[in-house]
């Protein structure tokens, strides 16, 4: 302690405070030159960009003021602890005690004068708090803060009223305002170093976190818990009163008062730490574990990018537009950036709102530090696309969508690996572990999720996976694409900096293609391409083949009628289906809102008018199409959401394609669809899906030495699951039942998971057997044709019935009719069924049969019914009157059949 006193160069904390006040006053006077009280925030941002000396003075003003507060409080405490006690006249001591409040007010007015988002809110709070004081609150608030939005009154109080009061009480108490020379030199050096290293905070007006000055953050935390905020004024008054009371009363009372003050101060400091380090947007609790923690907590503290700008740079800053009320260094260098749509015009949004970095510096390195070259990835979307002023509604729910969770994919994979009892559990990619199934997913499946980071610039193409918001909304125009390629070929070519790709609503099929050309392959199906196991060399190079990603060979098939009609994916699918609607769904059929019957309705359509739209649909509608009041739009039956690109005119439904703006007439279902009641339980797809891709008999094994890839970590690894694929085929899909309670619907299904898994190869503790599963998956193949399937393609088709490919023959003789089936594929050694079958010929299967718990093959009784009609169709043409009649009264037709009509399954 003695040593400390020897090396401690200052006579008292009061002297340090005086030195700090002197620096504060001098730097404040100098700061008044670049500061413009009429355009405060912009003038501060301007000085931060082009006036390094002003930055230094601002920093000195900030740090000296803050340390003046701290050292003044320490000085008071020091007096409390002194043996001699406080020997001041009570009047002077009262004024000194009030002086603490005045120092706080002087600092608070300084905080308000920067006029950023924090300051504007603080001003409103102060106005409310002071205005709430009984009788004179209104007068006080008007006199303290002014009546208009101008900062004039606050400025006067800051530089005159409060400063003068502080100077007067110091003179009264200390008799001089001048600090010692030694203290002044040391303190100036300290403040200079601090000011050089740490910049005074300035809010960027985008970050959603709103905080007061650090000494009032504890109060902000208290106010969060108080419904009657005026109590906080009493807390401040109590604090001042306790300071005033310390020198009075008996020694015991003095001791109690000091202890009370100390305890209150400690509690307040703890609250301050909580408020400062653990409160994020909307004052919600946040911890360093949150990925955006540093963005939310340290954002107002910008880097100290001292950069002396030349005349040209200064001129560029001066002529650059103001965004969010401030100048932004980015726009001074990146002028005339072309290519962005009006919604993302850099003159309105700047660069910083999407790309981050530091907007308040002209130092290139500092400006680009921590910047997001590719914004929109889900890890950062909350602070770019999802920031308060932009799309917080969407970004807050996007992680609930299946494209972000991959719930169905994960759940089904774990189900086939026998790691989960149901294929319908809610899962998420964020909880993927290292079990055999999860590793299988990591190696082979999970590249396709929205959260997969886009790490390289460039347009979305058929190899693209994920990329957050940009996965769908990024579009390169001709110029930006040319500039991009020029830069790729030559690092020195910076044309690309002037031609920004567009971020807009032109979501095309190419955006969906990368992920949806895999697994169910709905993108390629839709365009009429079926994947084969051929290699590129094995094709004839004709237009009948298409090579995807340089090696996958697709053969031409029938394209979906909607595709040939000029429609794209987003013409049916709405924003809630694609970006999540806030609810977690286990499978895609639950998340999907649109149904064929929403557009192709037979009775009355579901309609909405514009004023019944939800806000998001209304905004998208206004961005895509001109307003049309009174127009009737179709809506989805499932969630009552508007189909913004449809309308009803003269009792007919029309659709306008979202990108190409072509108007299409939408036909009602053909009369055959509702003829009789025989096919009421058929989904549209079960008849109109022309074909679906399927693959059978794949084998999965883990190879410790296989060079692999962890798709979640995006990292090369050694050891990977390997899929040995079977045959790829394209034919009319099989059919099965989906049972939801009493509702039974026939749907198309494909052999989704007929496979063997050598689980032992991954986990040697697992018993040395191979898992075998024969699961079909419900499918929406996106191969819709106007004409539905023929009667025989279901009733006489072994694939449709779930038996797999082969010869299904009906023989009738006097003994009766017999159906026989000769399968194309051998029986599996695992269950004795043909390799591609779902169920055995005239057998029943139950238990683990499908990738959904509510989907099953036809029961024996159902097979018999289908095949009985099939038997009729072996003689009667499907267009014959008798077959049509059977749709209305099947039993009557059966009862009235002729003798030569021999039915199967009759004993």
């Amino acid at each position: 302690m003695e040593l400390l006193k020897k090396i401690w160069p200052f006579s008292s904390f009061g002297q340090i405070s005086l030195a700090l006040l002197l620096i504060c006053v001098v730097s404040g006077i100098l700061l008044a030159v670049p500061y413009d009280v009429n355009d405060a925030y912009a003038s501060i941002s301007l000085m931060m960009l082009i006036n390094p000396a002003a930055i230094l003075f601002r920093n000195m003003h900030y740090w000296s003021a803050n340390f003046f507060l701290v050292f003044s409080l320490i000085h008071i405490w020091d007096h409390f602890s002194a043996k001699a006690g406080i020997k001041l006249k009570s009047g002077i001591w009262l004024r000194l005690s009030i002086g603490v409040l005045i120092i706080l007010l002087a600092m608070l007015t300084g905080f308000l004068l920067k006029a950023d988002a924090d300051s504007l809110q603080a001003r409103r709070i102060l106005n409310d708090l002071v205005g709430g004081i009984p009788f004179i609150g209104s007068l006080l608030s008007a006199s303290l803060l002014g009546i208009s939005d101008s900062l004039q009154v606050i400025y006067v109080h800051h530089i005159a009223t409060f400063t003068l009061f502080i100077v007067i009480i110091i003179m009264e108490h200390h008799k001089t305002i001048w600090p010692g020379l030694k203290e002044t030199i040391w303190v100036t050096a300290f403040v200079l170093v601090l000011s050089f290293l740490f910049v005074a905070p300035l809010h960027d007006n985008l970050n959603p976190v709103i905080k007061g000055p650090w000494y009032f953050v504890g109060l902000q935390e208290i106010l969060h818990w108080l419904s009657t905020p005026q109590v906080s004024l009493l807390i401040v008054l109590l604090f001042i009163l306790l300071i005033f009371l310390v020198p009075y009363g008996s020694p015991r009372n003095q001791f109690v008062t000091k202890r009370a003050l100390l305890i209150l101060t400690i509690i307040y400091l703890l609250l301050t730490l909580t408020g400062y380090f653990f409160r994020g947007p909307n004052w919600k609790f946040i911890t360093p574990a949150n990925s955006d923690y540093s963005h939310y907590i340290y954002n107002p503290f910008h880097s100290n990018g001292f950069a002396f700008t030349d005349y040209q740079e200064t001129n560029r800053v001066n002529t650059s537009p103001e965004v969010f009320g401030r100048k932004e260094g980015c726009l001074a260098c990146h002028q005339d950036v072309k290519g962005l749509s009006a919604s993302h015009n850099p003159e309105a949004l700047g660069c910083y709102s999407c790309h981050g970095g530091d907007p308040f510096t002209m130092n290139k390195n500092t400006a680009h530090k921590n910047m997001e070259l590719i914004p929109g990835n889900l890890t950062t979307a909350e602070r770019s696309c999802g920031t308060t002023a932009c799309h917080p509604e969407i970004v807050s729910r996007i992680n609930t969508g299946l494209m972000a969770t991959l719930s169905g994919m994960i759940s089904v994979d774990r189900y086939v690996f026998d790691e989960q009892d149901s294929p319908d559990e809610l899962t998420t990619i964020h909880h993927l572990g290292n079990s055999a199934a999860d590793e299988h997913l990591r190696n082979l499946c999970v590249r396709c999720h929205l959260g997969n980071q886009k790490t390289e610039t460039g347009p979305v193409n058929e190899s693209s996976r994920g990329g957050g918001c940009l996965a769908c909304h990024l579009n390169y125009g001709d110029k930006s694409l040319t500039a991009y390629h020029q830069h790729k070929n030559n690092d020195q070519d910076t044309t690309y900096l002037s031609f920004h790709p567009s971020v807009d609503l032109q979501v095309t099929d190419e955006h969906c293609f990368g992920c949806h050309s895999r697994s169910g392959r709905i993108s390629t199906n839709f365009e009429g391409w079926h994947e084969t196991t051929l290699t590129a060399e094995e094709t004839d190079g004709s237009s009948n083949y298409r090579i995807v990603e340089g090696y996958r060979v697709f053969r031409k098939q029938e394209a979906d009628v909607h595709h040939t009609g000029g429609m794209e994916c987003i013409d049916c699918h709405n924003s809630y289906e694609l970006m999540g609607d806030g609810t977690l769904y286990p499978h895609e059929e639950q998340q999907t809102d649109i149904q064929c019957s929403d557009c192709h309705y037979s009775d009355k359509p579901n309609t909405l008018v514009l004023c019944e739209f939800d806000q998001e649909s209304a905004i998208i509608n206004s961005l895509r199409f001109s307003r049309a009041d009174g127009k009737k739009y179709l809506s989805t039956a499932k969630r009552k959401r508007p189909l913004i690109n449809t309308f009803i005119r003269n009792d007919s439904a029309f659709l306008i394609t979202k990108n190409s703006k072509q108007t299409k007439y939408m036909k009602p279902p053909a009369s055959v669809c509702s003829r009789g009641e025989a096919h009421n339980d058929l989904s549209c797809n079960s008849c109109h899906a022309a074909w679906a891709p399927s693959c059978i008999g794949c084998h999965n094994a883990y190879d410790d030495h296989e060079p692999g890839y962890d798709m979640l970590r995006n990292d090369f690894i050694t050891g990977s699951w390997v899929e040995y694929v079977g045959e790829y085929q394209a034919h009319a899909p099989a059919l099965g039942y989906r049972e939801n309670g009493v509702v039974k619907t026939v749907i198309p299904v494909v052999p989704g998971m007929i496979l063997t898994i050598d689980k032992h190869s991954y986990d040697h503790s697992y018993e040395d057997t191979v898992l075998f599963h024969r699961l079909y998956a419900p499918a929406v193949p996106h191969t819709t044709q106007t004409k539905g399937r023929s009667c025989t393609s279901c009733h006489n088709n072994p694939v449709a019935l779930g038996y797999g490919q082969g010869e299904l023959t009906y023989t009738a003789n006097e003994q009766g009719g017999i159906w026989t089936f000769n399968p194309k594929y051998k029986n599996s050694p695992y269950d004795g069924l043909p390799e591609d079958a779902w169920t055995g010929f005239l057998q029943e299967r139950s238990g683990k049969v499908s990738t959904r718990s509510d989907v099953r093959p036809f029961t024996l009784e159902e097979q018999k019914k289908i095949l009985t009609i099939g038997a009729c169709l072996t003689c009667h043409n499907e267009s014959s009157e008798i077959m049509k009649e059977s749709l209305f009264d099947y039993q009557k037709v059966l009862d009235s059949r002729k003798e030569q009509c021999i039915l199967p399954f009759k004993k």
């Binding site: 809110q121 409103r124 709070i125 106010l223 739209f613 806000q615 206004s622």
Partner: protein
């Protein structure tokens, strides 16, 4: 001596009277200045979309029967400028309100003030005087 004749009494009384006069003048000045403040007119096109628009002093829920709420949080006057999960959220202390201004989560406990406005059906305009 009658204390009402003392110098101290005189000074006290005169001081009080002067103080009261000063307070009166102060109040008059502020009151007059407040009255002279120009009212701001905000005009918004009715879009019937339920769009939530944030202005400095008000929040407009733009629908067939629009709702105009004060943007001042009833807790401490912070400007409410965030609409999240169908709720209006105060950024300063975390209070939330529904689109009718009813408090859903504290610290605020009273409803956001509903502001008067005029709706011109012909020009499809909402006019708010602040």
């Amino acid at each position: 001596m009658d204390h009402t004749n003392s110098r101290r009494y005189f000074l006290k009384t005169a001081g009080s009277l002067l103080g009261a006069a000063f307070l009166g003048l102060w109040g008059t000045m502020i009151h007059t200045q407040r009255k002279s403040k120009k009212k701001e007119l905000i005009r918004i096109s009715l879009d019937s979309n339920g769009t939530v628009l944030f202005h400095e002093d008000c929040i407009v829920i733009n629908k067939d029967q629009p709702v105009v709420l004060s943007s001042y949080c009833t807790h401490l006057g912070c400007r409410i400028q965030t609409f999240e999960n169908g709720q209006l959220v105060c950024p300063c202390h975390g209070s939330t309100f529904d689109l009718e201004g009813n408090p859903l989560k504290g610290p605020a406990i009273t409803q956001l003030k509903k502001l008067d406005f005029t709706l011109n059906k012909e020009t499809q305009t909402i006019t708010i005087k602040i």
